[in-house]
């Protein structure tokens, strides 16, 4: 009975209900778009760190987990390797370089990441081969680089860096291609550590280093210690046994990327505010509906419709209208996002879309709950023009 009344009213007044569904669809689009933007921006920041083949990252202590400020020399790496439970350690260095476009019309910024061949930090290739030697002109690039520059295995990539005040160019051989591993919004070029140390941009005043210095180290713990509790215990243990290091998991590391937390909190605030608007819009619509239907509901109760029937009918309408709006909005957003150019940092992952859509499915009933209570309070006496 409740479903019968609910669906009949929606169908017979479909213009009105479609209108509110479209408003819900727009709110859905906005929420999903913000979620996608949030995910896209976050991913562009953290993609490399998120996909690292190690559980722990080591920073120089006192640098507040800043990859730019942190410095770890070979000796520190050797200490790390001696800690029981550490399976392997890889040095990783970060720098920024430019790759001139083939037609000479502009440049592409890339993250120049120094890694040790066959150690944590080096990405697995989808195509081609891994790096073989610590000092060579071989590089692995991510698909962001190949998409932007149209390069493939066997091609040369020209890296432009500024050493002091001089621009220098290095031609490197692409031997492997890995999946997207952006770092700081830039596609990545993975260079053997010694080569990286040689070509990375440096100020002329930089003092010569006595040992190979990277920014961070990536640790792969022993296979039997890879559950979260053991990983956390290993981090504490390493900090106790090795001087002047901060050891954190990947999530902590990427959350420490400058601007990352602020950016995410700003976007999340926008998203929650949009949810709030959604609750108000849906609630307002159904409250007005309820006020318009007082006499009709009173009549239905007078002739024998129970509060359960009336309430369930209202909830069915709210859920149905909201669901139609969310589905329209979600499909629209997926199509919209699919047609965005790659340069826009927007990424609608299944989980983010599901979370946002599920949350939106809840805002309808949440917004409509006031109107449902109002419906339940309508007295059947109103059918006779009386009210107590």
């Amino acid at each position: 009975m409740a479903f019968y009344l609910a669906i009949k009213e929606i169908w017979r007044s479909r213009g009105r209900y479609l209108l509110i569904a479209m408003i819900v669809a727009l709110i859905t689009t906005l929420v999903l778009f913000i979620a996608a933007l949030s995910e896209g921006l976050a991913s562009a920041n953290r993609e490399y760190i998120e996909k690292l083949n190690g559980q722990l990252l080591v920073f120089q202590s006192g640098t507040e987990l800043s990859t730019a400020a942190s410095r770890l020399g070979r000796s520190r790496i050797s200490e790390l390797r001696r800690v029981a439970g550490v399976a392997d350690v890889g040095q990783v260095g970060f720098a920024t370089a430019k790759v001139p476009l083939a037609d000479g019309q502009g440049e592409v910024n890339v993250a120049l990441i120094g890694v040790e061949p066959n150690r944590p930090g080096e990405p697995p290739v989808m195509e081609g081969q891994q790096l073989q030697r610590e000092s060579s002109n071989d590089v692995i690039v991510d698909t962001g680089v190949t998409d932007a520059l149209g390069l493939g295995i066997g091609d040369k990539i020209r890296i432009k860096v500024t050493q002091g005040t001089d621009e220098q160019f290095y031609d490197l051989n692409i031997v492997g291609i890995t999946d997207r591993r952006q770092y700081f919004f830039q596609p990545a070029v993975f260079v053997p550590m010694l080569t990286w140390d040689k070509i990375r941009p440096q100020a002329t005043s930089a003092a010569p280093q006595g040992e190979l210095v990277s920014n961070i180290a990536v640790i792969r713990v022993a296979d039997n210690l890879q559950d979260p509790a053991n990983v956390a215990a290993m981090a504490s243990k390493i900090e106790r046994e090795v001087n002047k290091v901060d050891v954190v998991d990947r999530k902590t590391a990427w959350e420490a990327i400058p601007g990352y937390a602020q950016q995410q909190s700003t976007l999340n605030t926008q998203r929650y505010f949009t949810f709030f608007i959604g609750i108000l819009v849906v609630g307002g619509f159904f409250q007005i509906q309820t006020l318009q239907k007082v006499a009709q509901i009173g009549m239905l109760k007078a002739v024998g419709a129970s509060n359960f029937t009336v309430g369930l009918s209202a909830i069915t309408q709210i859920v149905t209208t909201n669901a139609i709006g969310v589905v329209i909005g979600a499909v629209g957003t997926i199509l919209l996002v699919a047609n965005f150019p790659d340069s826009v940092p927007i990424m609608l992952t299944g989980q983010a879309a599901f979370t946002a859509a599920a949350s939106l499915m809840l805002i309808g009933p949440l917004g409509g709950v006031v109107s449902v209570f109002a419906l339940l309070r309508i007295e059947p006496l109103t059918a006779l023009g009386l009210a107590q």
Partner: protein, 265 residues
């Protein structure tokens, strides 16, 4: 056989110095197959009485029995179920569900009672055809005239074979011709199906279709008229006065042959 009985029913709104007695110690009964007109001026308590008879309002004291069940003592949920099962309603306004067509509005009572089947659907159609709405089955209330809407409401009030049928000012928004048509049909069906019917009305002309007139004044029953000739005289006098407005029943006390004087109350 008594279908509905009110025993010493009193309804007091408010309390203390603000208390208002809307219905004061009223007792009456309605038999199966009897159609009663409940009349009286505004504020006489007839609508409050109807609300209590319908189980929409609990009396302050007294009992209301329908089909030997004391509805005044039932819990709210039980009274709601009882209303759906044993009482048929026709209201003055907002009678029908606006998004359901005529047939669906009548079927509503069968659905509420879990009796909606092919046979029920056919009965609905037959009743509406009989009420002259055969070509209006698919029309929604907004596409029906006031008289047609009232006829749909009558069909809805009767389709689930209730013990009691209650009508609150069913002719209030109808012209004379349609009002007569609606109440005549209502009376016919009540007699034919042997329901107990009560109609609250201001329009004394409609009393010609009832079997008994119960007049309320100031919350009490001031008079009951069951003599057919007196009922027709009352209705005739009201007719001469155009039937509209709040009319008194003092006319029935005038000797035959004297000009009818209908006092406003």
């Amino acid at each position: 056989m008594i279908a509905l009985e009110a025993l010493n029913v009193t309804k007091i709104y408010g309390s203390g110095v603000t208390a208002v007695t809307a219905v004061d110690n009223v007792s009456f009964s309605v038999r199966r197959g009897e159609f009663v007109g409940l009349v009286g001026p505004s504020g006489s308590g007839k609508t409050t009485m109807l609300a209590m008879l319908a189980g929409l309002l609990r009396p302050s004291s007294g009992q209301i029995m329908i089909a030997n069940q004391e509805i005044s003592a039932m819990k709210d949920s039980a009274r709601t179920r009882f209303r759906g099962r044993s009482i048929g309603f026709s209201f003055q306004a907002n009678n029908l569900v606006p998004y359901l067509n005529a047939q669906e509005n009548v079927e509503l009572m069968l659905r509420l009672n879990g009796k909606m089947d092919r046979e029920g659907k056919e009965r609905v159609r037959e009743l509406l055809v009989r009420l002259g709405l055969g070509d209006r089955l698919r029309n929604r209330p907004g596409q029906l005239s006031g008289g047609q809407q009232q006829r749909v409401a009558i069909a809805r009030a009767l389709i689930h074979e209730p013990e009691v049928v209650l009508a609150d000012e069913p002719t209030a928004s109808l012209d004379t011709e349609r009002a007569n048509q609606v109440v005549r049909t209502f009376a016919e069906l009540i007699h034919e199906q042997e329901r107990a019917g009560i109609m609250v009305t201001h329009d004394l002309r409609m009393c010609k279709y009832v079997d008994r007139v119960v007049q309320m004044v100031d919350g009490r029953i001031s008079r009951e008229i069951s003599e057919r000739s007196e009922i027709l005289r009352l209705a005739g006098a009201a007719d001469a006065m155009d039937g509209s407005g709040e009319l008194g029943l003092d006319v029935v006390n005038k000797p035959a042959g004297e000009p009818a004087v209908v006092y406003g109350l």
